[in-house]
């Protein structure tokens, strides 16, 4: 997010790399990086773990970024992919919170939690949420953790393919192939269960996936 230059006395140079380089000798300049990207990072983190853990994870992400800022690739003009990568690293340390939040989202849908449902309904206004969520939840949960990171950085973090490659430090071709594979998996019919369309079967599938998330086996 570009700061409001008209109201802010803090100078704004053209790109993040200039600010980070300047912050190596003038540390307070790094606060401008924070102001530019905190909204995007916070929105992404909260969508992955819910609001309760967000403060801690976002704080840690920016502290790590500040301490490691001299390792930022100064050829990159935007720090957002780098920050998202750091946040993703920290999110990995909170697999249980991720799983709990995922379970809460699913439960909110299934159980009709008014507050959460309100959020879901507002964000899902343009399609039939009931059908689509029921179909997508278990399929997303069944993805590998590496695929889920790419999926969520793309769909919830609003990063481009190139930015995801930077954030995860993987080749852009890997990002393309993973998203292609993810798209095919999510578009495919739901995995067969003993009782098709049974809520219990879907829930069981999610629980297994959650255990995998928690223990890092996926």
């Amino acid at each position: 997010m570009e700061p409001n230059r008209a109201r802010r006395p803090i100078p704004s140079v053209s790109n993040d790399n200039e600010i980070i380089r300047d912050s190596l000798r003038n540390a307070p300049r790094f606060s401008e990086i924070f102001e530019r990207h905190v909204s995007a990072v916070t929105a992404y983190v909260s969508s992955r773990v819910g609001p309760a853990m967000t403060d801690d994870i976002v704080s840690e992400a920016f502290l790590r970024a500040f301490r490691k800022r001299r390792r930022f690739d100064m050829t990159k003009t935007s720090a957002r992919p780098w920050l998202m990568g750091i946040a993703t690293n920290i999110l990995r340390e909170h697999r249980r919170a991720q799983a709990g939040h995922w379970r809460a989202l699913q439960a909110a849908f299934a159980g009709g939690d008014e507050v959460a449902m309100d959020e879901l309904e507002r964000s899902s206004a343009r399609f039939d949420a009931a059908v689509e969520i029921e179909r997508l939840f278990p399929q997303i949960a069944a993805l590998s953790s590496a695929d889920r990171e790419v999926l969520f950085l793309h769909a919830w973090g609003d990063l481009t393919y190139e930015e995801i490659a930077t954030a995860l430090r993987i080749p852009i071709g890997t990002v393309r192939s993973r998203l292609s594979r993810i798209r095919a998996k999510l578009a495919a019919p739901p995995p067969p269960v003993s009782a098709p369309h049974s809520p219990r079967a879907a829930t069981t599938h999610i629980r297994i996936a959650e255990k995998e998330i928690i223990h890092g086996r996926s």
Partner: protein, 347 residues
């Protein structure tokens, strides 16, 4: 609707604030500024002189060489520069180093849509060379560095469509401290010590191996650890993306960081000796007193100008050839550059 769009629609949105992360960061920034200047262990004058003799000798007989053409190799020039640097340090004078950072910013190009400035030259209509500079005085014993002067970021040379550059600059910087295009930059005198010892380039400035090969090994290990720390993918993916060579990483550091220029003479000399052992650096021009060394990767070109006689790194430049060309930009103008000059100073 594409299934990925459907996933996008699932994103929950919560009311969150950023006060706590902001407070935490500001506390950390304040804490970092209160850190005392750590003293750097110094080699004795005798040891430095002995090392200078040793390195000078190696200049004429570098490892694996039999004399002759190797005398004009990049490693020979780097070792010679290191030896001169040590000899100067033995003399024990305080030194003022001025470091100018330059960056070429393109206007009207394909990557200048969200912001008025980009880096791709092909298709751009104008360009501006930005500058900022700082001066540091290193004490005669090399144990402290004082930041003595700072000239704010400002516009230098303008190339191509001057009106477009001015419009872009003024719209972006006009209301900031930088000001409009033709505003004279402010120069201030901070006059305060800086903490260089705590700096975290791959080999810490306060604790480094004296042996060049050990230094190079430590640098390689440090950059690999940094890459793995920053990485978030699987081990195999990390290994592939962390394929930067030591030479590339060291040249990149020289072109983008002031730290190697304000380190102790011993650190700088060892750095150059280690760089001399790294692979892939060749001599572009060895005729003049200032020698031009280059290192090229698949997407970047580094150009290092050193003065072996003076023991100085004159400039370090970084360009990305993938950005194409713009005929209005003078040939040889890099994307980034650090240029230095030194002068005797009072302690």
């Amino acid at each position: 609707m594409d299934v990925l769009d459907s996933v996008r629609e699932l994103k929950p949105a919560y009311p969150v604030t950023t006060h706590a992360p902001r407070r935490a960061l500001h506390r950390e920034i304040a804490r970092s500024q209160r850190r005392p200047l750590r003293r750097v262990a110094l080699v004795t004058a005798g040891a430095a002189a002995a090392a200078a003799v040793a390195i000078t000798a190696s200049t004429f007989a570098p490892p694996g060489s039999i004399g002759g053409p190797e005398a004009a190799s990049a490693s020979a020039y780097l070792n010679e520069t290191a030896a001169s640097l040590r000899s100067s340090a033995v003399a024990g004078h305080a030194t003022s180093t001025t470091i100018v950072l330059e960056q070429l910013r393109m206007v009207g190009g394909p990557d200048a849509s969200d912001e008025p400035f980009g880096s791709i030259r092909t298709g751009a209509t104008g360009a501006v060379l930005t500058e900022s500079s700082d001066s540091y005085v290193s004490s005669s014993d090399g144990s402290s560095v004082t930041w003595t002067s700072s000239t704010d970021f400002h516009a230098g040379e303008v190339y191509g469509d001057a009106a477009a550059v001015e419009a872009a600059w003024n719209s972006y910087y006009g209301e900031t401290y930088v000001g409009v295009l033709d505003k004279e930059p402010v120069t201030s005198a901070p006059n305060r010590p800086i903490d260089v010892a705590g700096a975290g380039i791959p080999v810490p400035l306060a604790d480094f191996p004296a042996d060049p090969q050990a230094f190079l090994n430590a640098w390689t290990q440090g950059m690999t650890e940094a890459s793995m720390e920053a990485g978030t993918a699987s081990g195999a993916d990390d290994a592939a993306s962390a394929g930067q060579s030591a030479a590339e990483n060291m040249m990149w550091t020289l072109a983008t960081s002031v730290l190697p220029y304000v380190a102790t003479p011993e650190y700088r000399a060892t750095f150059l000796e280690a760089l001399a052992l790294a692979e892939g650096i060749v001599v572009e021009d060895g005729d003049a007193s200032a020698k031009v060394l280059v290192h090229e990767t698949s997407d970047q070109r580094f150009r290092l100008v050193i003065s072996p006689e003076d023991g100085m790194i004159v400039s370090a430049e970084l360009s990305a050839p993938d950005g194409g060309t713009a005929e209005f930009v003078p040939e040889g103008t890099p994307d980034y550059a650090i240029r230095t000059s030194t002068a005797p100073a009072l302690d």
